[in-house]
């Protein structure tokens, strides 16, 4: 398959997957581009699954690297300078809070559950999720059921914790 076509079709999806996974868009774009650079070298026969496998590995590595924290700060600063103007402050605040809460809820999931859920949301079939995560196809339904349940529970908990803090203030 022509990789440039894969790039046109799946770059956004790959960035979104990485952004949801690591919470930093600039870094997600970097890693997605890195995955495509590697794909040019490896010429995988199933590029989409291969790219998301590599991206998931890169995201895991990202989480392990302490030095990334420093880079994060730099990137966030650079991103703030480069991005278009923010929406009105109250909307932006509300959105940021929602994003923070969902990110925190996702972070409470087991890595495999989180990745399965994010891959499903990117349109992956059970077969493809099983291939990327190295799981059996038969376990994907259970993994997704657990991931969905825990995400909803974690989000509710985080939200109620936030409300309690507001009341306390």
């Amino acid at each position: 398959m022509d990789l440039s076509q894969v790039y046109r079709e799946h770059y956004r999806s790959l960035v979104r997957f990485l952004y949801r996974r690591i919470g930093d868009q600039a870094r997600a774009e970097d890693l997605a581009q890195d995955a495509f650079v590697r794909a040019i070298e490896h010429q995988p026969s199933q590029p989409r699954a291969w790219l998301f496998t590599v991206a998931a590995n890169l995201a895991r590595d990202e989480g392990r690297r302490e030095s990334v924290r420093r880079k994060h700060l730099t990137l966030i600063k650079a991103e703030a300078e480069a991005r278009p103007p923010e929406p009105p402050p109250e909307l932006a605040l509300e959105r940021r809070e929602a994003v923070r809460q969902v990110q925190a809820a996702l972070a409470r999931l087991a890595e495999r559950d989180r990745e399965a859920l994010l891959l499903w949301e990117e349109g992956f079939s059970y077969d493809e999720i099983a291939e990327v995560l190295g799981l059996s196809r038969g376990s994907i339904g259970t993994t997704l059921a657990r991931a969905r349940t825990r995400l909803a529970e974690a989000f509710d908990r985080i939200k109620s914790e936030g409300s309690e803090e507001d009341v306390a203030r």
């Binding site: 952004y19 774009e29 070298e41």
Partner: protein, 385 residues
């Protein structure tokens, strides 16, 4: 039919079942009010999870052109050294083996020098520690003759155990490419990079300089006796207990007569067949990973250990995610005599690199090194064949 479990309900909802299984579940749902209710809950849960995840939508993306991506790939390829010349013919490999062999032989036949290449035999012949120390003391002047000025200063340095990151940087292969996983080379700790840079500055980098290879091999053959004497000196500078085979203390003992640290722990790329000759046994390999290069050397690589002075083979692989996985193997018929640790050991470098070392029960001391998780290393270890 018993109730449909959550996993099957979600798979049903997600449209992941074939016609037959789908119908079976539909039939059950038609007859089971409990499962129908659970199905509705699962629907709501699935929708809610999707809505929550959709909250995390990135801003408009920066998408470089495909041409830019290709250029980055080309730049990355250029940044890697060409290795075609590093795969010499079998004849060249034989020259390497002979060069190292000369070094070993010369070192083995220098009076009083312990034969590092045959630790098991050496153990049988090993005098008592006190005798060895006495021997070492008696041989010390000879070594000083070889290195009149540096000897006293360099002897303690020979015992220094480098940090894994620094030691890795002293390795020619490492100088070729030590890209951390994920292409995050720039994120390596600055201090380590600085140290690595300093070490690289000192290196002759034989493997990265094609024209110098032939010269280097010639020098290797010519200087082998010198190397042997230098190694002997370093051996004698170590306490007897270390000379018996303390792996940690035996790192970095290889140095030239001039005290040039560039000579530490050299590995040379060869064809796999030559590597098997060097090892004196069939190579252990990792299936399903891309083999990038095969190298031979004197062993004792600091990172992950290994027995210094025993022929070692490094197989450098790359996994699907671009992680470099190195499998180092040495033939150790008697682990105790070699001084290597008997049990499996996991070594974690502060930089994040992990090494897993074990004896396989077939006479191999194996070390896997990679910037992957400990679990991944263990899983890879099980796949070595």
């Amino acid at each position: 039919m018993s109730h449909v479990d959550d996993g099957r309900l979600h798979a049903f909802l997600d449209g992941e079942y074939g016609e037959r299984e789908h119908q079976q579940i539909e039939q059950h749902l038609a007859a089971c009010g409990v499962c129908r209710e659970r199905l509705e809950e699962a629907k709501a849960l699935s929708l809610r999870a999707s809505e929550l995840v959709a909250t995390l939508e990135p801003d408009p993306l920066h998408a470089p052109s495909w041409r830019e991506i290709e250029e980055r790939a080309a730049a990355r390829a250029r940044a890697r050294p060409h290795r075609h010349w590093l795969r010499p013919s079998l004849a060249s490999a034989a020259v390497i083996a002979i060069a190292f062999g000369l070094g070993w032989l010369s070192r083995s036949y220098v009076p009083g020098a312990p034969d590092l290449a045959r630790p098991a035999e050496r153990k049988a012949e090993m005098p008592a520690a006190a005798e060895l120390q006495a021997d070492a003391a008696s041989e010390q002047p000879l070594a000083r003759d070889a290195r009149p000025v540096e000897a006293e200063q360099e002897a303690p340095a020979g015992r220094r155990v480098e940090s894994p990151a620094k030691a890795a940087a002293t390795e020619p292969a490492a100088a070729q490419k030590r890209e951390p996983a994920g292409g995050l080379a720039a994120e390596a700790d600055e201090a380590d990079q600085h140290a690595a840079g300093r070490s690289r500055d000192k290196l002759a980098e034989p493997a990265a300089q094609p024209p110098a290879l032939a010269t280097k091999l010639e020098n290797e053959a010519r200087d082998a006796p010198e190397l042997g004497r230098a190694a002997e000196f370093a051996d004698q500078a170590l306490p007897a207990a270390d000379a018996i085979g303390g792996v940690e203390a035996r790192k970095s003992v290889f140095r030239t007569v001039a005290g040039d640290e560039a000579a530490l722990e050299r590995y040379f790329s060869v064809e796999p067949a030559a590597a098997a000759v060097w090892l004196g046994a069939e190579l252990r390999t990792l299936p399903d990973l891309r083999l990038k290069r095969v190298q031979v050397g004197p062993g004792g690589e600091a990172q992950g250990g290994g027995v210094a002075g025993l022929p070692a083979v490094r197989l450098v692989y790359e996994d699907a995610a671009g992680h470099e996985i190195v499998l180092i193997q040495q033939r150790v018929s008697d682990p105790e005599a070699s001084g290597a640790d008997a049990g499996p050991a996991l070594i974690i470098d502060p930089s994040g690199t992990r090494a897993y070392r074990w004896h396989d029960g077939r006479g191999y001391l194996l070390t896997l090194i990679g910037e992957v998780s400990s679990d991944s290393l263990r899983a890879l270890a099980e796949r070595v064949r």
